[in-house]
Symmetry: C2
Subunit: 571 residues, 2 copies
């Protein structure tokens, strides 16, 4: 069932035509950068409105919106003119039949009594004309469905499954920038400013209806009607997760909020209980907001709070266990029976508990066997798999070794020279021969990989090769990987193998191992949160794989998945 609000906001998100009121040729004005931002992508008609210029950035300009010919309707107006001029222009927009607006201009409620009066006046005019608007005092918005970037200056943004409303343009911009950097996209992004007309809960309600939106994010400084928020948002959170960043735990912040968005911050405890009631998940910083979003995008919901931790090093495990327990997760105790099964694959010095730490064992196949053993246990609801996304760090290790080592390493690639070229999935060849060729190829690669990075028994390597071979023709792997492999080894002699190729060869294992994780996740229907060795945020791959930069972040994300899962269970 679609709510009224979705119908009402349709002209905002899918306008046929747009007027930029205050569009300018003057580079130093927001009216210039807003206009060029809209031009960059929107396919409908765009009208510059400017009192004094005839042409704006090469387009015919209109003195007022009423000068746009009657047979050319304007669905949306973007206001980038001084606040005092807006009531009159809003009247014109209503006359013209404009259905939606965004007021970027500042100088309203956030400046005090006079500003609030002006804001109320603008609101009355718009309401009389059934014109719904974003703002004032905002940075604009993005709608993927119409490729509209109605921003006060162009910011890079990707299309994707997130709906995001923010009361702070800068915080919003920082989150969008970080998301772009992580290859995460938005279906709607709204800098809502002073929320004179459309309220935060209305955006969220509308996002709740939209099948393109999977996750909803919000940065909230204050609300006009807390009860209405709880009532509307609690319906949305039954369908999809809503994650909110709400500053204002301190008086200093409350004062800053008042002067920024003109909102009353309210006590943080009240917010906590309102969020709890509405099923909203609270984040404490912009990067937490994004981390939690990625968690929900890539993971199934856990059945409970029992977590197992796999770590390549003791201290990683210590920090992660500490973070998990602090956040109310249960670092599950392993049974004697389980410990006995790990005794069979790990050396005697392994940690004999959870976190599972093989303590520097170099048997890589055992390290990749252990996660499945844990996932199969009924008492384990989720797995944090640490230090996993680190294969891309091996090349730098290789190149940091001395020259002699580097040469020896290349020599190890000799068995791959002249290997039969494996082509991209070829319908003309029969399945059996293809599988055998792939198996041979993977086997050669694994042989090299394990000689350098781990000792494994021959039958274990073969078993692992079979696993990867079956994976490579499964739904979890992009078949183009075969082509990449064959390209890599299509060399005539040793001298053709350079550092770059060694790097690419090692890197090429990463997607295969990622696919393995995704496969486990699908089979066991439990979250598997991976972490890497670096503090830099990584990229979301294929919309399904993401690796966090620390056990602490993994623990946080998992705790929020548990929180939401428990909320849904309570019904």
């Amino acid at each position: 069932m679609t709510n009224d609000i979705t119908m009402e906001l349709a002209p905002l998100f899918n306008p046929r035509s747009v007027a930029v009121i205050g569009a300018s040729n003057n580079w130093s004005k927001w009216g210039f950068s807003t206009f060029t931002s809209v031009l960059n992508g929107f396919k409908g008609k765009v009208y510059p409105v400017n009192k004094s210029e005839e042409i704006v950035v090469g387009r015919r300009a209109y003195k007022t919106i009423l000068d746009v010919p009657d047979d050319e309707p304007v669905d949306l107006a973007i206001f980038v003119i001084p606040a005092p001029a807006i009531p009159k222009v809003m009247e014109d927009c209503v006359k013209k039949g404009v259905k939606a607006g965004v007021i970027i201009s500042a100088g309203f409620a956030e400046t005090g009594k006079e500003g609030r009066k002006l804001q109320d006046e603008v609101l009355r005019i718009a309401q009389r004309g059934n014109l719904r608007f974003i703002g004032p005092n905002c940075m604009g918005y993005y709608s993927a469905s119409s490729n509209l970037r109605a921003f006060m200056f162009p910011i890079p943004i990707l299309s994707g499954p997130i709906g995001f409303v923010t009361q702070g343009g800068n915080v919003g911009g920082a989150v969008v920038g970080a998301a772009t950097n992580r290859n995460i996209g938005f279906h709607r992004y709204i800098s809502c400013g002073c929320t004179a007309d459309i309220q935060i809960e209305e955006y969220i309600e509308c996002f709740g209806d939209d099948p393109e939106i999977k996750i909803i994010l919000a940065y909230i400084e204050g609300l006009n009607d807390g009860e209405r928020f709880v009532e509307k948002v609690s319906k949305v959170t039954k369908k999809k997760p809503v994650i909110a960043l709400k500053p204002g735990r301190t008086t200093a912040a409350a004062e800053a909020i008042l002067s920024h968005s003109g909102a009353i911050a309210g006590s943080s405890d009240i917010w906590d209980s309102a969020f709890k009631k509405a099923g909203v998940i609270r984040a404490e910083s912009p990067d937490e907001l994004l981390d939690i979003a990625v968690g929900f995008l890539t993971q199934p919901l856990p059945g409970g709070k029992n977590v197992a931790i796999m770590t390549p090093g003791g201290s990683y495990g210590v920090l992660c266990a500490d973070a998990c327990a602090s956040l109310g997760l249960n670092v599950v105790k392993l049974s004697d029976e389980t410990i006995a099964t790990f005794d069979k694959i790990f050396p005697p010095r392994w940690s004999h508990g959870n976190p599972v730490d093989p303590a520097g064992d170099r048997n890589f196949t055992a390290y990749l066997k252990a996660p499945e053993m844990l996932l199969k246990l009924d008492e384990v609801d989720s797995l944090i798999f640490m230090g996993f996304d680190g294969f891309s760090s091996f090349p730098s290790l290789v190149s940091s070794m001395n020259h002699k080592f580097s040469r020896m390493f290349k020599k190890m690639l000799t068995p791959l020279i002249g290997i039969e070229k494996v082509k991209k999935k070829d319908s003309s060849s029969d399945g059996a021969s293809q599988t055998s060729r792939i198996n041979k190829f993977i086997h050669s690669l694994l042989f090299i990989f394990f000689s350098v990075f781990g000792t494994s028994k021959k039958e274990e390597v073969e078993d692992f090769a079979r696993q990867l071979t079956s994976l490579i023709t499964s739904e979890f792997v992009d078949p183009s990987i075969l082509y990449t492999f064959s390209q890599l080894v299509n060399v005539a002699d040793l001298n053709d193998i350079d550092d770059q190729m060694v790097e690419r060869l090692l890197d090429s294992f990463q997607p295969l191992l990622e696919a393995l994780i995704i496969k486990w996740m699908h089979e066991h229907k439990k979250p598997i949160i991976t972490t890497n060795f670096t503090e830099e945020p990584t990229s979301l791959k294929g919309g399904t794989f993401y690796s966090f930069s620390s056990g602490k972040k993994a623990a946080l994300v998992l705790s929020k998945l548990v929180e939401y899962s428990e909320y849904l269970k309570r019904g």
Copy 2:
């Protein structure tokens, strides 16, 4: 006064020669990677010791260390052999006159009773021979003064002013990796493992003596003698800051610690009070450890806890003020007098308080005037200057604009075409003419910059140009910047100006503005902590400039500077 410990550990940090016991040709052994790690950089003699091989990685190997000729002394032994073999080999080392060691091998106290017995035996033998050693169960160590990388596998590490001891090799490796990524280096880095012989407080004592070390970092799971730690470390913290990460707030972590390093975690409250007594600053995560270190490396100590915040956007300011107040800093209230002075440079919509937010004003010279106005106030002890390090994000904005805009932007560069080439500081030219040429050049650049990114009055731009001109010939700027500028504009016509040049031109302002910050910091002797728009960690520049990725991090770092400053004042 140098402590005994510094004399005792001299052979560890500056050995003339090194034996790697267990050095191997077998790629899958730690003995191989450890040996190649040592070979990579260390200039003294390196002896591989291997029971069965004659040659290891091209070097003559010895069956035991006693087979090394008598007239060739060995200062340091690195052990990469199974634990049970170590007592006998340690005996040999003592006989040979080895003075220091590092036992990388695991299988000691961390594995239980038997392991502890073995560890005690090794310790007795070493002590009888006055051989001091790191470990066991560690990842090795780095000494910049002898360029020695005694690691179990090569990790990239830079030379620099930090002394770091870690009880967790993986956490240590992650911190070192992140530091390298941020261009931060170490004078000593020690993975200390089970600390059978040399204790954490001894490393810290030794770091305290070393004039090359400015900041001391530690990751601690447990201590053998807490009182001794407090006694020794409290002497060091009078001289330089010691920052420690200590996990184990939860039972889950305490259990993980026991199985990892064999240490007793102890209650977190006891740690808090011990750290407080010793003047140790506590960090809560690896990235906090590094953030705080960078803070101490680049900032003077604040006189008190009154902070002013400059922000380019309201919500940034809200989050930062919230973080500051939560951490006990005082977001200082501005006097009416101060507010009146800001009224003169900002539009009426500015925040009228702290955080100081010009609310989207595009007058860039005003934005750069405000920090000095705040720094001059007696009631302000420090400044958080937000969204400063963001000029490198402008190029991506430019290129994301449509083609038409891009062409117009290039046209604006026309005044710079054919401008007189400014050479690197040239002693033959007289000072006055040089200054005039620089001024002309800077002025042209500023004209372009402000036309695009802000409106400023002509006299303000000229005033600002004079400031930058005087800066450019000061100690705060690398004079090569002039050469960069002249290269950038040494083009014959408009077609030579491509996107890359526009990017470099905008980027070239960044070092000038950084120098301005450093100059203010020197003049006012107050911390100025800058933040940028991205969540990626940035690089330490010239050892003096660093920009944090959020107001939250800036607040944390500042709170620790205040904590240390107050500790020193208490005396």
